[in-house]
């Protein structure tokens, strides 16, 4: 176990995390927790209703118009769809074999942001009665663009290099999502109320990074000593345009 740990560390060269990594076996369920709520200051852009007139099979699934998802806010200046992850201090294990599910439903991406570890399998489903094309536009990974007709099996894929990948469907230009490919399994997305929780962290020093597709990144340093829950506050500066 120790040797695997060292080997993994040597390969990934994560400097400061070496002490924590070597210190003991990796505990998944137990360990410390980092939680918090993402908020913003300033004025976020107004989300606009999406006109799905060109795709009646999708339009009929939504009683009220779906809004754009570039900056989804909640009461109390909370911010949803923010990727929160450990950017330093973590010992990244091998990529989970459990696939991440990504749905195209009602001509929207569900979830809007999908988090996955580099190399983790990704399954993309088309639940609609129409053809979608999935067009991830990575900078580091290889780009592809493929149609998925209705009723066809899911597309199995994965991304090897960590980066935030913008995803779009050209057939339905309003469809926009994000694949957050990270070098860690400790990652999550803030919920509708802006809250998040990262669990199962071994004792050590961590850097928590929050990433939002419009407002950039915020970071905080956190030290976990046992199985306690540390709360961090991450605040974004929002601009209307």
């Amino acid at each position: 176990m120790r040797i695997t740990g060292i080997a993994a560390l040597a390969g990934l060269a994560l400097g400061a995390s070496a002490v924590a990594g070597v210190a003991g076996p990796h505990l998944r369920a137990a360990g410390g927790t980092i939680s918090g709520t993402i908020t913003y200051t300033g004025t976020p852009p107004k989300m606009k209703p999406i006109d799905m007139a060109k795709e009646p099979t999708c339009a009929k699934q939504h009683a009220t118009p779906v809004m754009t998802e570039g900056a989804v806010t909640g009461p109390g200046n909370t911010l949803a769809d923010v990727v929160v992850y450990i950017s330093a201090g973590d010992q990244p294990g091998p990529a989970p074999t459990q696939p991440v599910r990504y749905d195209q439903k009602g001509c929207q991406y569900v979830p809007h942001v999908a988090v996955m570890q580099a190399g983790q399998p990704l399954e993309i489903y088309n639940d609609d009665e129409t053809s979608h094309n999935i067009h991830p536009m990575p900078k580091l990974n290889s780009e592809w663009n493929k149609s998925q007709p209705p009723g066809t099996p899911p597309i199995h894929t994965s991304f090897d290099k960590p980066e935030f990948i913008s995803v779009k469907c050209n057939v339905h230009p309003w469809m926009h999502g994000v694949f957050a490919v990270l070098n860690t399994s400790h990652a999550t997305v803030s919920g509708a109320d802006g809250s998040f929780k990262l669990e199962g962290l071994a004792p050590g020093h961590y850097t928590v990074t929050a990433w939002h597709e419009r407002f950039g990144t915020q970071t905080a340093d956190v030290t976990i000593t046992g199985s306690e829950t540390q709360t961090v506050k991450l605040v974004f500066k929002a601009t209307p345009y």
């Binding site: 007139a53 060109k54 570039g70 094309n133 149609s147 050209n170 339905h172 345009y241």
Partner: protein
């Protein structure tokens, strides 16, 4: 076998022509001011070429029927090649001349006259694979378009800059072309990526979008209702699904529609 050929040609001709004649499949009802001219031109052409079609196919069938397997002396067509040339030059020539004269007028009415001054201008952006329509809003002015501002993710399909451009703030952008009935409409058409086309069969109108050009197109719809706009210029994988609706409304409905859109 020669007789089989003659009969087959005869049957194929009569069935083919009959389906045209009885409008088994035909154009959808016309809802535009200039559509009648196009329909008239098409009908004239249909009659003239229908006669030519049936006559030449049946002549072929009859000649084959009579000459196949014949062992008698050969006969030259009376007059040789001369009647053929005369028929072609005179009949087809007259047809061509008439069609050109009448048809050019129809064409000129569609594409060679300016839109009337009271026309409602709607700005159209085509992209892979959707149409978006823009109305000037209360100020009557269209905001400037900046390609670098275009963002599908943010519903900024035209590349407007409401932060700095005050004329852009009240622009109404919709995925449906709502228009008032019986009022001339002027579309200013531009594409932001590849070639597309605007086609509404009921309006009898079709026009390409050419990237880099702004192309005017005008028409007047005469009947309210909801009709499909489809793309007829191959534009990529989503070409078959590049469509929108044109909703022809009464004046009051249109005013109401504009108000609802402006509030969003």
């Amino acid at each position: 076998m020669g007789k089989f050929f003659a009969v087959t040609v005869g049957i194929l001709t009569i069935v083919s022509a009959g389906i045209f004649m009885f409008h088994v499949w035909w154009l959808p009802p016309d809802i535009s001011v200039l559509g009648a001219g196009i329909d008239h031109q098409l009908n004239e052409t249909m009659v003239a070429s229908g006669i030519l079609f049936v006559a030449s196919q049946l002549a072929l069938a009859v000649f084959v029927w009579r000459s196949s397997g014949s062992t008698g002396p050969i006969k030259i067509f009376p007059g040789g090649a001369t009647p053929m040339v005369v028929i072609a030059v005179v009949l087809v020539g007259i047809e061509v001349a008439v069609l050109t004269l009448v048809g050019s007028k129809v064409w000129a009415g569609l594409f060679m006259v300016q839109a009337p001054a009271n026309a409602l201008q709607v700005d159209v952006q085509a992209e892979q694979f959707a149409f978006y329509f823009r109305y000037a809003g209360p100020d009557g002015k269209f905001g400037a378009m900046d390609p670098s501002k275009v963002s599908d993710a943010n519903n900024n399909f035209f590349g407007l800059d409401p932060a700095n451009d005050t004329t852009a703030r009240d622009d109404i952008v919709a995925a449906t072309l709502a228009i008032p009935v019986n009022r001339p409409i002027l579309l200013t058409m531009h594409s932001r990526d590849v070639g597309h086309a605007f086609y509404v069969p009921q309006l009898r109108i079709q026009q390409d979008f050419v990237p880099g050009l702004v192309i005017p197109l005008h028409f007047t719809a005469t009947q309210t209702g909801k009709y499909e706009i489809v793309c007829t210029q191959l534009c990529g994988l989503g070409h078959y699904n590049m469509r929108a609706y044109v909703e022809v409304m009464s004046d009051s409905d249109f005013a109401q529609w504009l108000k609802t859109q402006a509030n969003q």
